[in-house]
């Protein structure tokens, strides 16, 4: 079978035989990358588990200084952003480029809201002296070494925040390409891949929220 057939689409790379093979490969590759991200955060979840098991009371006392309302708001924001992301892909699947762009922009807006809320949370903590490690000066938490909770809090939400920013950069890149008509119902793989990454960021937060904000 010659691979210089006239009907070989432009977006089909030379080393793939069919569009399906290319798409399945991209998807599998992306899921393996998400696997690495899960293992990355997994390390922090391990540190969390170890220290919470050692100091359950300190964790309880320290977590009370987290704002449950803001945390809940951010959870709602991120879930909504996942919805808009999924919808953006669904609309490009049916070739509705206008709606696809609309929902992609919405995703970015919700992502920004998340970061703004986080900014307020962080600056409040900085103000109180609830800082990581050797910069911790807050006195209001009972229990030994309360800075450990805040170190873990900042490590986990900080790493998560970095991934939100990275995700936003990817989404902007995809948005630009979408506006330039690079995608259609026939080919939207990069949008799908960006979507998978974005959902992962949501997945991590789904666990972070109860573990940090809702300790019984």
């Amino acid at each position: 079978m010659s691979d210089h057939a006239a009907n070989r689409p432009e977006f089909l790379a030379h080393h793939f035989s069919t569009v399906e093979q290319q798409r399945d490969s991209a998807k599998l590759g992306m899921w393996i990358f998400l696997l690495t991200e899960i293992l990355l955060f997994g390390g922090l979840f391990c540190a969390y588990s170890v220290y919470r098991a050692w100091h359950p009371d300190m964790f309880y006392n320290a977590h009370k200084f987290l704002n449950v309302q803001l945390g809940t708001l951010n959870t709602v924001v991120l879930i909504t952003s996942s919805l808009t992301m999924a919808l953006s892909i669904r609309f490009i699947q049916v070739n509705d480029k206008k709606k696809a762009i609309l929902f992609l922009v919405s995703t970015l807006i919700f992502a920004s809201i998340f970061l703004i809320v986080k900014y307020f949370e962080y600056s409040h903590k900085f103000h109180l002296g609830q800082l990581p490690g050797k910069y911790y000066t807050f006195n209001g938490v009972e229990g030994s070494n309360p800075h450990i909770f805040f170190s873990i809090y900042f490590a986990m939400t900080g790493l998560h925040g970095i991934h939100i920013i990275a995700g936003m950069i990817v989404l902007v890149w995809v948005l630009v390409k979408m506006i330039n008509n690079n995608f259609s119902a026939e080919y939207y793989t990069p949008v799908e891949m960006a979507g998978l990454y974005w959902h992962l960021v949501d997945l991590v937060w789904i666990y972070l929220f109860p573990l940090l904000y809702l300790i019984g």
């Binding site: 490969s25 393996i32 490690g133 450990i148 490590a155």
Partner: protein
């Protein structure tokens, strides 16, 4: 295929076509130069270590510098040489050819992997120049948080290098799943592919944990987060859990591709079908999985709980089984085979002998009570050099010599290669067998100073290192010489049955004119007569 064709070496032309190449063969070659360079640098540090240890107390440098020598030797050899060597250099070149594919699944990711490697190595070099590190390659806390050496730049370098490893892993897994030629099923692909595949699985699962470990270490140093510092309520042993969760599977990243090469060379140079194909394939997967369950055997004397130690010890015995299965299967492959002793086979036989010693001594160390005496002694140093050098490096050299004609279209000088292999083998055993003895006699590792009673053995070991060095220098000479004056190689100089030997040597840019048809298995020497070309 016409006689005149452009190989991947000459087409496309120009430096930019190399710097921006998406050709897996060119990327593999650039990796090969890089890992060989770092092998040389790591080797220089090894010679310096052994020079210092010729006499107790100071021989050539002070204690702090000595600590930097063994740290850099370890870090460079592990992160810049041995982990990328077989997968990224040989694997990149051979994998698509063996599968009958045009390239890997994600060629741009492949190039990115190389540049990330280069970028990471720059951080490592920067660290070396600005005061280096003296913590040991394991960066244990609390010393690594307090040492005034350039820990952060080195750990950042390793962090970046990890991404290179992850990208290669993702690429290989998807390539093996999706880009096999039509008719090549999972169970009639070459065993080198299984080895690379199992390696890739470990790379993607384990390396992220190294990443987070190094991030936490950097945060500990900069922000004093305290999670590894007892004074702040932290636990230094937790660092070791984090570190070894990656670093134990990492040693299987090092050995699995080597084992894959052995399956290739042993069949070709015995002209015989592999014994127990499925057993070897599944053993590769078993090693990959069980490797994640044994990391605590590096921590038997760290203060971890007894029950954890017992669980890890038990699982460590388990992980030796698939390696044992493979070794027996390789031996059975040789039985009644038509053995020819060219350099790839000499290295293969060296591997069998040396890896067996290395692997068995690993089992000794897995016994809790024995490890209490042997932990942190030269016995451990000897063990891991037997598996990493006697195992992986021998396999790497076997593969390098085996695929040399395919990569360059030139044969190396077989007589010089045999002399070199002999020197390396002898030199290696003189250097490291001695260290088993030193270890059982109580000589601790990473010690600058030692009691007089150990000196004769230390001197003997150092002498061995010079023999090894001579072997490697000779190897460098005849390999470079072969590029200019080596006999031109045909398509299939070894008479092998895997797909990479159906293309010209060196292969053209696009690998195959037509997608290959799979008409036989990779080891069907009993069914197919194939001549050396």
């Amino acid at each position: 295929m016409s006689e005149t064709y452009e190989s991947y070496l000459t087409y496309p032309k120009g430096i930019k076509s190399w710097l921006f190449t998406l050709d897996h063969k060119r990327i593999g070659l650039m990796y090969l130069f890089a890992v060989m360079f770092f092998f040389f640098i790591g080797g220089v540090f090894a010679i310096l270590i052994r020079l210092e240890l010729l006499t107790p107390a100071e021989t050539i440098v002070g204690a702090d510098t000595y600590n930097q020598f063994f740290t850099l030797h370890g870090a460079i050899m592990i992160f810049l040489f041995i982990i990328p060597a077989i997968p990224a250099a040989l694997g990149n070149f051979v994998l698509p050819l063996m599968l009958g594919a045009k390239d890997v699944a994600f060629p741009k990711l492949n190039l990115a992997s190389f540049y990330v490697y280069v970028f990471g190595s720059l951080f490592a070099i920067y660290s070396i120049i600005t005061g280096a590190v003296d913590t040991g390659w394991t960066f244990y806390t609390p010393y690594s948080t307090e040492s005034t050496t350039s820990v952060i730049s080195m750990t950042l370098g390793v962090f970046i290098l990890g991404f290179s490893s992850i990208f290669t892993g993702i690429n290989f897994i998807v390539t093996v799943h999706k880009l096999r030629a039509p008719g090549m099923t999972w169970f009639n692909q070459p065993l080198f592919i299984w080895g690379l595949y199992a390696t890739a699985i470990i790379q993607v699962l384990a390396t992220p944990v190294l990443a987070i470990t190094l991030v936490l270490l950097i945060l500990e140093r900069t922000l004093g987060i305290g999670i590894f510092d007892p004074a702040m309520g932290g636990d230094p042993v937790l660092y070791q859990h984090f570190f070894w969760f990656y670093s134990h599977p990492a040693v299987y990243i090092m050995i699995l591709p080597g084992m894959g090469i052995i399956s290739e060379t042993i069949t070709v140079f015995s002209r015989k079908k592999i014994f127990g194909y499925k057993a070897i394939a599944f053993s590769s997967l078993a090693i990959a999985f069980v490797s994640f369950l044994v990391w605590g055997h590096h921590m038997f004397t760290s203060g971890q709980s007894e029950i954890a130690a017992m669980i890890f010890s038990f699982l460590t015995f388990l992980v030796g089984i698939p390696s044992g299965i493979k070794t027996f299967n390789w031996l059975a492959t040789m039985y009644k085979g038509q053995i020819s002793l060219e350099a790839p086979m000499i290295y293969t036989l060296s591997f069998l002998f040396l890896f067996t010693i290395g692997g068995l001594t690993g089992i000794f160390l897995g016994a809790l009570a024995l490890d209490v005496h042997l932990h942190d002694t030269y016995f451990v140093v000897a063990h891991f050099h037997y598996v990493m050098v006697g195992g992986t490096v021998m396999a790497f050299l076997a593969g390098l010599h085996y695929w040399w004609p395919k990569i360059w279209g030139r044969m190396y000088n077989e007589r010089l290669a045999q002399i070199s292999a002999f020197l390396v083998f002898i030199g290696f055993n003189v250097t490291f067998f001695t260290q088993f003895i030193l270890g059982t006699q109580g000589m601790p590792r990473r010690y600058y100073n030692y009691l007089d009673q150990y000196q004769p053995l230390h001197a003997f070991s150092s002498f061995g290192s010079w023999i090894m060095a001579a072997g490697f220098l000779l190897m460098g000479y005849y390999m470079i010489h072969s590029l200019f004056k080596g006999k031109k190689a045909g398509k299939n100089p070894w008479g092998a049955l895997t797909l990479e030997w159906t293309t010209p040597s060196p292969p053209p840019h696009h690998n195959f004119d037509e997608i290959p048809k799979i008409e036989h298995g990779p080891y069907d020497y009993d069914k197919i007569l194939v001549e050396r070309d």
